[in-house]
């Protein structure tokens, strides 16, 4: 009952995002992003917790700066359009706007706040941070037709840092955030071409994240050694967990392959061969650290674990059905395209 205010802030969070992606003017975009920021901070902050307070501080500082830069960008744009004989550069305002939105998303040269903020959140807030908070900035990047060189640079940076920085991590929140940075690179490549493609990529990515984070928050796991305790007497969960990470990495029989496949197709059609090839190759590193999480679960025996959850046979019909739909989704969508 004492957490009733969180319902209100979740509603205003969603309202802020919807305002900013459906507004007609730039000032409405700014208002929506501000509402989003003002309502996510009370959701993630817990005044008795050291970590979440610090995470909300870091998130607040970065997001406030990014929205101020965004407002500055389109005010410069307004003045530049209406004032004759100005000396400003041609695409300066759109570059400023795109850069500030990339700070808000956490794309790669501006990603430094993102793993730190993720480290201090609980899993539900981390899920909001990984999925819902990406909608508004990426949609507005899609609406702002910025120059391709900037976006391609950000794609390459995102994919490379998402792959390389995730290698030596032990915290699962850090791993999820670096994998999210990697996926942001792919989503940027998708939104460069088609809106529908970005929408599907985002939807499937959110569903995969939801399946993984559901398990992690159910068993309250935050680092790799704790995974052993979960998987000790839970072979079904273990298998689903492994398959979900394969799906997140984009291995073909699972649904995570579908948006990457479509993105590669569109990039080849638009003759971005080099960028596409680099993205595919570097995402293999991401797949490598996913395998490093999941391989010990099935190869090593976990008898040395001190935690014992053996009596706690976990059963959840909802989780099972979500996982089954997600993992076999590519087969079903292929069948739908071929026979219907």
């Amino acid at each position: 009952m004492s957490y009733l205010y969180k319902n209100l802030f979740i509603i205003t969070l969603m309202t802020g995002t919807l305002i900013s992606i459906s507004s007609e003017s730039w000032l409405g975009v700014w208002i929506g992003l501000e509402m989003n920021l003002l309502s996510i901070i009370p959701l993630m902050n817990n005044s008795k917790d050291l970590k979440s307070t610090e995470a909300s501080l870091k998130y607040f500082i970065v997001q406030a700066m990014a929205s101020m830069i965004l407002l500055m960008g389109f005010l410069i744009n307004t003045i530049k359009i209406n004032l004759p004989n100005n000396l400003l550069l041609e695409n300066l305002p759109s570059s400023i706007i795109t850069t500030s939105l990339m700070i808000k998303t956490g794309a790669a040269p501006f990603h430094f706040w993102f793993p730190e903020v993720m480290e201090g959140l609980n899993w539900m807030n981390a899920l909001i941070m990984l999925t819902w908070q990406k909608i508004a900035p990426m949609t507005i990047i899609m609406y702002t037709h910025s120059n391709e060189i900037l976006i391609t640079t950000v794609i390459m940076f995102s994919v490379i840092t998402g792959g390389l920085m995730g290698i030596n991590q032990t915290s699962l929140r850090k791993i999820m955030s670096y994998s999210s940075i990697n996926h942001i690179g792919w989503m940027m490549a998708a939104l460069l071409f088609t809106e529908t493609l970005w929408k599907w990529y985002f939807l499937i990515y959110s569903a995969m994240n939801m399946a993984i984070i559901w398990m992690l928050s159910k068993f309250n796991i935050s680092s790799i050694p704790q995974l052993m305790a979960m998987s000790k007497n839970n072979p079904k969960m273990k298998t689903f967990f492994m398959f979900n990470f394969f799906s997140l990495g984009g291995l073909p029989p699972f649904i995570g392959f579908l948006p990457k496949w479509l993105t590669i197709q569109v990039m080849v059609l638009n003759e971005m061969y080099l960028t596409g090839a680099m993205m595919i190759i570097i995402t293999l590193i991401t797949l490598y650290f996913y395998m490093r999480i999941t391989m010990p679960l099935i190869t090593l025996s976990s008898s040395s674990s001190s935690l014992n959850l053996s009596n706690q046979q976990f059963k959840s019909k909802n989780m099972m059905s979500l996982n089954s739909i997600l993992l076999t989704g590519l087969l079903f969508s292929t069948m739908a395209f071929n026979w219907i």
């Binding site: 000032l27 208002i31 501000e34 920021l37 003002l38 901070i41 902050n45 005044s47 008795k48 917790d49 050291l50 970590k51 307070t53 610090e54 995470a55 909300s56 501080l57 870091k58 607040f60 500082i61 406030a64 700066m65 101020m68 830069i69 407002l71 500055m72 005010l75 410069i76 307004t78 003045i79 209406n82 004032l83 004989n85 100005n86 730190e116 903020v117 480290e119 201090g120």
Partner: protein, 94 residues
């Protein structure tokens, strides 16, 4: 033209002040207000192109005051958990 150059210069300067390294969190929040101030100037200039629709300044001030108050409440929360507001001590998330 001079006004445009001045306002862009003020914005960039305030961003520089905001991003520079401080000892206290309160100074960063104060320089956030400096950004708000320079954007207020720029916004009041650019609203002249929209039929002098200065009522939006009210909305801008409302949101920026909300943001400042939120920053101060985070400051209070940080002082309650960490004991001070030095940036030096905000390093547990690495």
């Amino acid at each position: 033209m001079l006004i445009l150059n001045f306002s862009v210069f003020t914005c960039l300067l305030s961003l520089l002040v905001f991003c520079s390294k401080r000892k206290h969190l309160l100074l960063t929040l104060l320089s956030l207000e400096f950004i708000v101030l320079s954007l207020y100037f720029m916004l009041s200039f650019s609203l002249m192109f929209f039929n002098y629709e200065f009522f939006f300044l009210m909305i801008f001030l409302t949101f920026s005051v909300c943001e400042g108050a939120l920053g101060l409440s985070i400051l209070v929360s940080l002082v309650r958990t960490h004991g001070n507001d030095y940036f030096q001590s905000f390093n547990i998330l690495w």
